[in-house]
């Protein structure tokens, strides 16, 4: 997709900028990844016996794939609300630096904080990546409208996929339903692996995969937190040790 040049009169209208943002979803492979991810999340919500409204609200209000599967999986395996909330909170911390990084890209002297609330809400890994790709081609004073459009577009994809995945899991044969459920671990494993650049990232991923089954043997109810903190701390420690002169 080619956006109009920065000085084009097409950018004079805020609504036009919103529409350009919305149509930008067709220009990225990440839309397909998002679709597949949320098909899996919808199916997982069904298998964990949550209602369709629950699945819809989770996608619209949480809007972070990893947090959603952590929430669904921990609650379904009988963890307490506090344990789930802790696991989700830790996974959500990564949104903080993303929001901090994204907002200056679209701030102008006239921008008020309340204008950026929705941008902060839409911020998740997909939007964060796309901001760096698209925003240099959008005039600064139209960037908030553009991102509102892009965020709405991405969320429509996620929402549609959530509903489709939920209904597929409810109505398909067992084999096909299991294929839909397998999408979640596959899509998350490969997208996390793709985003892993530093040694700490790679070790955290590998150790997290390997240590969970070990921690699960203890059956403490805190398995996911125990394996996460241990694996993450080892990964961080090795990274620091390698970095030390």
């Amino acid at each position: 997709m080619r956006l109009p040049p920065l000085d084009s009169p097409q950018w004079n209208s805020t609504l036009r900028a919103f529409a350009w943002g919305m149509s930008a979803i067709s220009a990225t492979i990440l839309s397909a990844v998002l679709f597949v991810t949320y098909i899996g999340i919808g199916a997982l919500s069904h298998e964990a016996q949550f209602s369709l409204l629950w699945a819809i609200l989770a996608t619209v209000l949480v809007w972070a794939g990893p947090a959603q599967i952590i929430l669904i999986t921990t609650l379904a395996s009988g963890a307490s609300i506090v344990q789930s909330a802790i696991a989700v909170t830790v996974s959500a911390i990564r949104l903080f630096p993303m929001v901090v990084a994204v907002l200056p890209l679209m701030r102008t002297e006239k921008t008020k904080r309340r204008h950026l609330v929705l941008v902060a809400h839409f911020t998740a890994v997909t939007l964060w990546v796309e901001c760096y790709r698209f925003l240099p081609h959008v005039p600064r004073e139209r960037r908030v409208a553009f991102i509102h459009g892009l965020g709405c577009g991405l969320m429509s994809i996620g929402l549609t996929a959530t509903i489709i995945g939920y209904e597929l899991a409810a109505n398909l044969s067992q084999t096909l339903a299991s294929a839909i459920l397998l999408l979640t671990p596959l899509a998350f494993l490969f997208s996390t692996a793709r985003n892993s650049r530093t040694l700490a990232d790679i070790l955290a991923l590998v150790l997290g995969l390997v240590l969970y089954p070990v921690a699960a043997l203890m059956n403490s109810g805190l398995d996911i937190l125990v394996s996460g903190v241990v694996a993450g701390t080892i990964a961080y420690g090795v990274h620091k040790w390698r970095e030390a002169p």
């Binding site: 999986t73 609650l75 909330a85 397998l182």
Partner: protein, 118 residues
């Protein structure tokens, strides 16, 4: 209330849990980013540790779905679940990290294993 609406809304306790354990933890960090805005060192030690723990928690959940599969996925033998993941990962690496190739290959292996005669 009709049956359809009752099924659609489900248990309202679950919706409260969603807000407490799902929505609030996520919105808290987003809105903190909005309020504090700047002055954050992306390379700080604390943030690196948090990122590593968050990645490991997500990896743990991926492992959990495969080791203790939910619903219909439990009907797939363990060897086939792990085999599909390994095959998908091989395809992912061979295609210079294509998520799409990895997912498709993993799914094909799992479905072939289920439908193969015998």
């Amino acid at each position: 209330m009709s049956d359809f609406m009752r099924d659609f809304i489900g248990d309202w306790h679950a919706l409260v849990v969603l807000v407490l354990a799902g929505v609030i933890p996520n919105q808290f960090w987003r809105m903190l980013g909005l309020w504090l805005g700047s002055g954050l060192d992306e390379g700080s030690d604390l943030l690196m540790w948090v990122k590593a723990v968050a990645t490991a928690i997500l990896a743990g959940v991926i492992a959990q779905i495969l080791v203790e599969p939910p619903g219909a996925l439990a009907s797939v033998p363990a060897s086939l679940r792990y085999g599909a993941l390994v095959a998908g990962f091989a395809a992912f690496m061979l295609t210079r990290r294509s998520i799409f190739a990895g997912v498709v290959c993993g799914e094909i292996v799992m479905l072939a294993g289920r439908w193969w005669p015998g």
